[in-house]
């Protein structure tokens, strides 16, 4: 936090500062502060302040703790020799091996679909065959009926001829009887 220049209105400025910091602190407790605002709070609490309001006093130790470096052990010596030992190389592209049956549901869906199409095609073909067979049978029945009727007609005509001859015979007999 930049150092403030205080003039005659020192108390008023300080009050304004505290008010702004209190507002920032509330945002901090709510977890809504940005990193810059948190840095501002840390900077504020790293200094000493007179007449600190209670809500700021309560947060002071926490922010002072954040600034403490003593909570960690001293950084050890690092062994960076691995940088020379390992030759820099690009990691090979990762080859993801897929098990052939990993996507079994896809295969199952394709098989089911093919089976469905096959069944539908077969059904359609069978319906067509049945219709053709039915038509052939109907035609055959028609031809048979036609043949039977023709035969009947022929025989009927034969009977008519005989009746005609019989009629001539009867007429002749009647004529003879009449003359006698």
């Amino acid at each position: 936090m930049p150092e403030r220049v205080y003039g005659k209105n020192y108390k008023i400025n300080r009050y304004m500062d505290y008010k702004a910091i209190s507002a920032l602190l509330e945002k901090y407790w709510e977890g809504e502060t940005s990193l810059a605002e948190e840095a501002e709070l840390k900077a504020f609490f790293s200094g000493t302040h007179a007449d600190l309001p209670e809500e700021l006093q309560e947060a002071a130790p926490l922010f002072q703790y954040f600034g403490e470096e003593t909570q960690f052990p001293a950084e050890p010596e690092w062994d960076m020799s691995f940088l020379q030992e390992t030759p820099p190389q690009q990691a090979p592209a990762r080859v993801v091996r897929m098990h052939p049956f990993r996507n079994w549901m896809k295969y199952a869906a394709v098989v089911l679909m093919l089976a469905g199409i096959g069944y539908a095609f077969r059904q359609h073909h069978e319906t067509k065959l049945i219709a053709a067979r039915q038509e052939a049978e109907d035609r055959k029945a028609y031809m048979e009926a036609k043949k039977a009727l023709a035969m009947l007609s022929r025989n009927f005509n034969k009977g008519t001829d005989k009746m005609q001859q019989l009629s001539y015979f009867n007429t002749a007999v009647e004529k003879l009887q009449g003359s006698n």
Binding site: A39, P61, E68, E75, W78, M80, F82, L83, P88, Q90
Partner: protein
């Protein structure tokens, strides 16, 4: 190129990684080993370094995973190690009385933070002590950004309540 990248982006975060590992493990030697292993692992995976946008978060995630493996493998009792680390080194000040008082207050804050559940504590430390963004914390801990925000809010609230209950006030 990789060496350059490693020296410019990974080496400067060594301290941060070490501190992160120390917080997770609570033991200086183990933290050193884990950080060393993490650095070597990052170097071994240098092909991936180029592709990453946030190398620091990636390094922290590697450190975290190695530390968690260590905890699992040794059936670490984190509570024990934290108890061990719960006392802060004494601060050297001119006024011995003021120094003692300050140490006491700092120890109380330290205890309040260490008493938090692990996920809250890690998030609060990464944010408030290491200054990581929400996104960086999410990447380091492999969690959602919203989870980071919610847990950070809860962590701060809990610490605040503890400090209020103990009446730990400004120095």
């Amino acid at each position: 190129m990789s060496l350059e990248l490693f020296l410019s982006q990974v080496v400067p975060v060594r301290t941060k990684l070490f501190r992160f590992a120390y917080r997770l493990l609570g033991d200086e030697e183990d933290a050193k080993d884990i950080t060393q292993d993490a650095l070597m692992k990052v170097w071994a995976m240098q092909g991936k370094m180029m592709e990453l946008q946030n190398l620091e978060a990636w390094c922290m995630r590697i450190t975290r995973n190695l530390a968690l493996d260590k905890i699992k493998s040794r059936k670490y009792r984190i509570a024990d190690t934290l108890d061990k680390a719960s006392e802060l080194p004494a601060l050297h000040q001119r006024n011995p009385h003021a120094a003692t008082e300050r140490n006491e207050v700092m120890n109380k804050v330290h205890a309040a933070i260490n008493a938090l559940p692990e996920k809250y504590r890690n998030i609060m430390q990464l944010r408030d002590m290491d200054g990581l963004s929400y996104q960086e914390i999410a990447e380091a801990l492999d969690i959602d950004v919203n989870e980071v925000k919610v847990n950070l809010h809860r962590a701060r609230k809990s610490v605040r309540e503890k400090l209020q209950n103990q009446q730990v006030y400004g120095l």
